[in-house]
């Protein structure tokens, strides 16, 4: 029966149009040994990739939103060349997982200005990662409001403030200082 654990998301995947992973994160409670249902999937990258390939075979070009796959609930959405998936535990309330998934999807929609596609995700990978981090924390759904998530995702810093100007000033200052000292010496010497 439904467990009361907050750890309800087992993995978040972003797969491309051929089933290769663009992003994959398998969650595991950080300090607990009791939760080993997914042990092989968490540790073994090869198994993870096989799992993703099998899953891809099931969901690619089948727009059904939700299915049960190998004892997991999988929610997914297929875009042009990318599929977003959320893998949840089999006992979890489907609508709760749906909430987490929608938050993930819609926040990506908000932060990626020109829509969700593979190139956009790769170009703004840091922002995508931040959005995911703000949505799911180690398998706990952290936030379900896309705007809140998007508001917490920072854009990459713009170019550094004019540090080199300071540097120039310093050099010039040093040069000026040296010049004045030299002049002083020369005058004294003269």
């Amino acid at each position: 029966m439904s467990s009361l654990s907050l750890y309800c998301v087992e993995a978040l995947l972003i797969l491309d149009g051929t089933g290769d992973r663009v992003y994959a994160k398998y969650y595991q409670p950080p300090h607990s040994n009791s939760y080993v249902q997914n042990a092989s999937l968490i540790k073994n990258v090869k198994k993870q990739k096989e799992f993703e390939k099998r899953l891809f075979g099931k969901i690619h070009k089948h727009d059904t939103e939700i299915l049960i796959f190998e004892d997991h609930i999988v929610l997914y959405k297929e875009y042009m060349d990318i599929i977003l998936c959320l893998v949840g535990s089999i006992d979890e309330n489907e609508v709760i997982l749906q909430q987490g998934f929608t938050a993930f999807r819609d926040s990506l929609d908000l932060i990626l200005d020109s829509g969700i596609d593979k190139k956009n995700i790769q170009d703004h990978f840091d922002m995508v990662l931040l959005a995911i981090d703000e949505t799911i924390d180690n398998g706990i759904i952290l936030e379900t409001d896309p705007a809140t998530i998007a508001s917490r995702v920072t854009k990459p810093p713009t170019n550094e403030p004019q540090l080199h100007l300071d540097l120039d000033k310093g050099l010039m200052g040093a040069w000026g200082f040296a010049k004045s000292k030299l002049q002083e010496r020369l005058q004294q010497g003269l």
Partner: protein
């Protein structure tokens, strides 16, 4: 690396990543630079993380170096770089050493960082702290929990949740703060919105706080109750997830103590109409699953309301909700399909849903709730639809149709036509075709009327079948069933075609199949033609085919002189009970002396075809009941890696109401083996029949006793399996004393008792009592008393105390009855009505039952009492009707004579009236059975 390729990666437009070493070097260089270039560092971190997301990893030393370099970036006060740094720290902490060194920088951020950074800092505390340092974050986490900013509060609550397993004492001190966090509705401070987005608090902090509170209080039932009351009655919970969590909390409480359910009835009732669909779903799930384990505690109104809620959810546009509701309904349909019949209109409209997962679920549920009335329309709907779905779904549907064919044998025509249609026209792989053929085989064996039509179509199918395995199975079936049809030569032609056209595997299967036609009917022309065919095959180029043909020829020839024995070899009338055969063979192999004598096959229990069918049918129907057939298909079919709408988890949580019959069969075999291994019983000869085990005590009694009756030709043995459920008492010298109810006229003579010497706590053992009886059918009741000596157990040694004599005790258990049913073995017959009419001796009896029990309970009791096999799916009483006809069939275990029963029953306000009509070749048996029904 050339400058050209290097430049390529500098260009952020490119989707490609540089190789691992380049990234590593770049990161090491750039992170250690001073001053820090924040833009470039964030780009590099992003690349590093992308690399790691691909599954790449670093050796520990490199990871540690990276971690160290990344933590240098803390000196730079740019928030957007800082967020990236936290991501990197979380990813690297898993693989590097010395993660503790970042703790102080992180803690500084928790105290003084901006509101944007604080949550990130708090959450990354989880990965750098361990058992010994967790306490140091106590003050920080505590003050963050009560923060007015919901994100900070949530971050702290989740961090505490993660840390709970390693520092329970620390986190326990937050109980009050967490409680406050549930009650406190935290909006976002409106004034300092910086970015382009306006965060809108969903109050999800409540969910995290409630999750943490549960973990802190989970061992204390009373305070959990208090939690529920506090948050359910005041309308404090705004967050959807938190509300669902609360429902789960109630579930947890009632699972632990079912009696508390009544207290929550009203609450659950209200939740069924909650505005959140997730709450409605969770509540319905709770009610319906609780009702399967504790049916008495759930009021019918509440259950109906839950079904109604689910029914309403079927019509919402959101796929996930529909899917979830269907999942719950599907679970119910396995246990009690009649309860969700009211959803049928909604389900029917979902058949054409554009979402295949949804429509498949709808169909499988409909097939289970289906009644004789709507089957043919259902089948025609599926026919339109099945060609469009994927193989996995097709298999699920085929399996559902197969169970349907067992349930409604009278509908065989439409089902058969459907199966033949998909077999011939359906595109699909091996597993799909195989499941169809399997379904057809089931129909052929259990619905004899369908035999000829099905076989003819299978013949057509093998003309053009690419799968060897399926061909072989069909050939076997043709050989088994074909000879007894009206026109066997038709099949001979088809089979011989295979010999001419196919490969050696199929040829050899066809040879075996052909040979079975030779002797089946006393038709010399058929036999002659088969012999000539076989002679031709005997020149085949393949060894195996040749061998089989020669053997078959030899058998056919010798059958003229020896008669039946050769016939038996070609067309076996019985098979062995494989389990006892295996154990006999194993023990034969392990004893080297035994090789002096040939293996004695006659002691192994033999099962005739009819019996095997009866067992098979029983098992399949039981599976259907407990819903495991689907799950079973899930693990054996192609669905192993597929999306079975059924899942193992469901099976574990939703146990059907009936005991698993198959397991009981196995148990009976085990008992029989144990019995026969006891020296004293060897002289009784072979075991004629064993009854099902009957409970003689309540299942929750201190000592649980189950009785099994074993019949020998002139003896009867009662076996009492006794379980000691106490943990601190040992029982010595346990036996059951049986006294005849009517000692004057007892026809049984007690011979001896085998007691159990010692019954340790939580173990099970068997005591036996043997009687001599005449060869006739003897029926008697016995009063039973459990007698034993109890001794208390020394907790240190787990042995009884020295010198403890114990004291004698007796324990009254239910009586055990030897009745007519014990002399009967259930058996299968295809055409019940004809057989019934043909049997000579008739006996009629009428019963009136005044207890208030349902028809179904009466039927169950009749089936157990008579040990007959219910046929034509009459073992399920319709819910909406007050009358029912039960058809039972069996064979005498002693003589093998057939007996058939029809029991008509009518339920009225006064009770249930039964009229049993029995017919048999043996008049006494018939009379005994009919008069001893109840």
């Amino acid at each position: 690396m050339s400058t050209h390729t290097y430049k390529k990666f500098e260009n952020s437009d490119s989707g490609d990543l540089p190789d691992k070493m380049t990234i590593y070097q770049d990161c090491m260089n750039e992170f250690n630079e001073s001053p820090v270039n924040s833009k470039r560092c964030r780009l590099l971190i992003s690349r590093l993380l992308r690399l790691m997301a691909q599954g790449e990893t670093f050796p520990e030393s490199e990871a540690t170096a990276l971690f160290f370099s990344v933590s240098k970036l803390f000196q730079h006060q740019n928030d957007s770089l800082r967020q990236a740094v936290y991501l990197a720290i979380k990813e690297l902490s898993g693989i590097s050493e010395d993660v503790l060194m970042a703790t102080s920088s992180i803690m500084k951020d928790v105290q003084n960082g901006s509101d944007l950074i604080k949550p990130n800092a708090i959450r990354s505390l989880t990965v750098v702290l361990d058992e010994s340092t967790a306490f140091s974050a106590e003050r920080l986490l505590k003050s963050a929990v009560v923060s007015k900013n919901p994100t900070i509060s949530s971050a702290s609550l989740t961090a505490s949740y993660h840390l709970l397993p390693i520092s329970e004492t620390t986190i326990k001190r937050f109980t009050n703060e967490a409680q406050e966090a549930v009650v406190d509705l935290k909006p976002f401070p409106q004034n300092d919105v910086t970015g382009d987005y306006y965060p809108n608090s969903t109050f999800i902090t409540q969910y995290h706080a409630l999750g943490l509170l549960y973990q802190l209080k989970k061992n204390d039932k009373m305070s959990l109750m208090k939690l529920v009351r506090q948050f359910a009655e005041t309308n404090n919970l705004k967050n959807q997830l938190a509300k669902v969590q609360l429902v789960k909390l109630v579930n947890d409480i009632v699972q632990r103590d079912p009696q508390l359910f009544t207290q929550f009835q009203q609450l659950l009732y209200n939740w069924l109409s909650n505005k959140f669909e997730s709450v409605q779903l969770e509540t319905s799930k709770l009610i319906t699953s609780f009702a399967t384990t504790n049916p008495r505690l759930v009021s019918p109104e509440l259950f109906a309301a839950a079904i109604q809620t689910l029914q309403g959810l079927l019509t919402v546009p959101r796929v996930t909700t529909k899917f979830a509701a269907l999942r719950i309904l599907n679970r119910i349909s396995m246990v009690s399909p009649e309860k969700i019949v009211i959803c049928n209109p909604e389900l029917e409209s979902l058949i054409n849903d554009s979402n295949r997962n949804v429509s498949t679920y709808a169909i499988t549920i409909l097939l289970k709730t289906g009644t004789a009335k709507n089957i043919s329309s259902l089948i025609s709907t599926i026919t339109k639809f099945i060609h469009e779905v994927s193989d996995d779904f097709k298999i699920i549907i085929i399996d559902a149709v197969r169970t349907l064919s067992l349930n409604f044998p009278q509908e065989w025509k439409s089902i058969l036509n459907f199966l033949i249609d998909v077999l011939k026209n359906g595109e699909g792989g091996f597993k799909f075709k195989n499941s169809i053929v399997e379904a057809l085989i089931d129909i052929v064996s259990f619905v004899p009327q369908s035999k000829e039509l099905a076989l003819e179509n299978l013949c057509d199918f093998i003309e053009d079948c690419e799968f060897n395995e399926i061909l072989v199975r069909i050939l076997h079936l043709l050989g088994k069933e074909g000879p007894y049809t009206s026109n066997p030569s038709l099949y001979v032609r088809h089979i011989y075609n295979r010999v001419v056209l196919e490969n050696s595997i199929i040829r050899s299967a066809a040879v075996v199949s052909l040979s079975k036609f030779a002797l089946a009917k006393n038709d010399p022309t058929l036999k002659d033609s088969i012999v000539s065919l076989l002679k031709r095959i005997a020149n085949d180029k393949d060894d195996e085919v040749r061998d089989r043909a020669s053997i078959a020829l030899q058998f056919i020839e010798s059958s003229e002189s020896t008669g039946d024995s050769a016939k038996d070899l070609i067309q076996a009338k019985y098979s062995y009970d494989y389990q006892s055969l295996e154990s006999k063979l194993v023990s034969y192999m392990s004893d080297s002396d035994a090789f002096k004598a040939p293996f004695e096959g006659s002691t192994v229990r033999r099962i005739t075809d009819d019996e095997a069918k009866a067992m098979d049918l029983k098992r399949k129907q039981e599976q259907l009941q407990s819903g495991s057939l689907e799950s079973g298909a899930g693990s054996s079919g192609s669905l192993e890696s597929g999306s079975t709408p059924d899942e193992r988890a469901d099976k574990a949580t939703y146990k059907g109401p009936s005991v698993d019959q198959h397991k009981e069969d196995l148990l009976a075999t085990k008992y029989a083996d144990e019995l026969l291994s006891i020296e004293q019983f060897k002289e009784f000869g072979t075991l004629v029949n064993s009854s099902n085990s009957v409970a003689l005590t309540e299942p929750e009694a201190e000592f649980v006793v189950r009785g099994v009756k074993h019949l020998f030709k002139e003896h009867v043995v009662f076996q009492f399996s006794i379980t000691n459920t106490l943990t601190d008492v040992i029982l010595d010298n346990v036996s059951v004393a049986c006294t005849p109810e009517d000692p004057e006229n007892s026809q049984l003579e007690e011979l001896f008792t085998i007691p159990i010497d010692r019954l340790a706590p939580s173990t099970e053992a068997a005591s036996y009592i043997a009687f001599r009886k005449s060869e006739d059918i003897v029926m008697e009741g016995f009063l039973c008393n459990l007698t034993f000596t109890t001794k208390e157990l020394n907790p240190d040694t787990n042995e009884p105390f020295d010198g403890d004599e114990g004291f004698q005790d007796e324990y009254e258990i239910d009586s055990i009855f030897l009745n007519a049913g014990d002399y009967i073995k259930s058996s299968f017959i295809g055409d019940f009505t004809t057989t019934f009419d043909e049997l000579p001796n008739e006996e009629v009896a009428v019963y009136n039952i005044h207890e208030n029990i349902s028809l179904q309970e009466v039927i169950d009791k009749l089936v157990t009492n008579t040990s007959c096999l219910p046929l034509e799916n009459t073992q399920f009483a319709p819910n909406d009707s007050n009358s029912h006809v039960l058809k039972l069939f069996g064979k005498s275990a002693l003589t093998g004579v057939k007996i058939a029963l029809t029991v008509r029953m009518i339920k009225s306000s006064k009770g249930i009236a039964l009229k049993a009509q029995g017919k048999s070749e043996d008049a006494t048996l018939c009379a005994d059975l009919v008069n001893g029904l109840m």
